[in-house]
């Protein structure tokens, strides 16, 4: 399991725009870089990121090798109702990780 750092409020007023900031530990090996022996290291990147809010997708991103190692992605969403936000990163070599956070909306 890759380490993940998620920053979002635990509670928000209904209708408020909340900022979500995500970091995940991943080398984002570009596939263009030579290794110690001079041959090109195979690509190993995160290619997709998704955020769902109570099951409905609210944000998604397609990543390329031009995203820095330990990818940082920040975006916003409207706090519509209490429930669960789910974050999924997918990538090369069957990489897949999901994290969830609950939010209380009042």
């Amino acid at each position: 399991m890759a380490r993940v750092l998620l920053n979002l409020p635990r509670s928000a007023a209904k209708g408020a725009v909340i900022e979500i900031r995500t970091l995940i530990m991943h080398p984002m090996e570009s596939g263009f870089r030579p290794g110690m022996n001079g041959s090109i290291l195979p690509r190993d990147i995160i290619t997709r990121f998704r955020c769902s809010y109570n099951g409905e997708e609210v944000f998604r991103a397609e990543l390329s090798p031009a995203i820095a190692a330990n990818p940082f992605i920040s975006f916003t969403t409207v706090a519509t109702e209490s429930g669960t936000l789910s974050f999924t990163w997918e990538g090369d070599n069957d990489f897949r990780q999901t994290e969830t956070r609950d939010i209380a909306v009042t």
Binding site: I18, R21, F32, Y53, V58, F59, A66, T76, V78
Partner: protein, 143 residues
């Protein structure tokens, strides 16, 4: 004072770079995003440092002016570059539930180049802005 050792030190900075994407590559990637629609200037702000000390991690933020209502919202933000091995950087897709049309990330820059940010709107229009970024050569790389 003997300057030669310092010059030799500067030579440590020389690194092999993979081939950069061609202008055709970038145009093709842009076309895949816009479907060939014309880009209009404006509504998009790209906040990226003009001078970068290390191209491995360059923080940036794209902000698009949009009411983000069901009838009128930004549907996607895409970033393209000229001189990395591939022209794509990131494409983010969202809708009115985002509240604001904003995206921040950390990108890589192989060398000094122009970054293009494009926003797709729900009315089918595309808006853009670009920024020139200078990457200063890292002097002390780990070997």
């Amino acid at each position: 004072m003997n300057r030669r050792p310092l010059l030799a030190g500067a030579l440590l900075a020389l690194t092999l770079r993979p081939a950069a994407a061609t202008p055709e590559d970038e145009a093709a990637a842009l076309r895949a995003f816009t479907g060939g629609a014309a880009l209009r200037e404006g509504r998009v702000a790209l906040d990226i440092p003009p001078l970068v000390e290390n191209g491995n991690t360059v923080p940036l933020k794209v902000t698009v002016q949009s009411p983000m209502t069901a009838a009128d919202h930004c549907t996607a933000i895409a970033l393209f570059n000229e001189k990395n091995p591939q022209p794509q950087v990131i494409t983010a897709r969202f809708g009115p539930r985002a509240g604001r049309a904003e995206l921040a990330t950390h990108m890589r820059l192989a060398t000094s180049q122009k970054i293009l940010a494009v926003a797709a709107m729900s009315d089918g229009s595309f808006w853009s802005t670009s920024a020139e970024v200078i990457v200063t050569l890292a002097a002390c790389i780990e070997s």
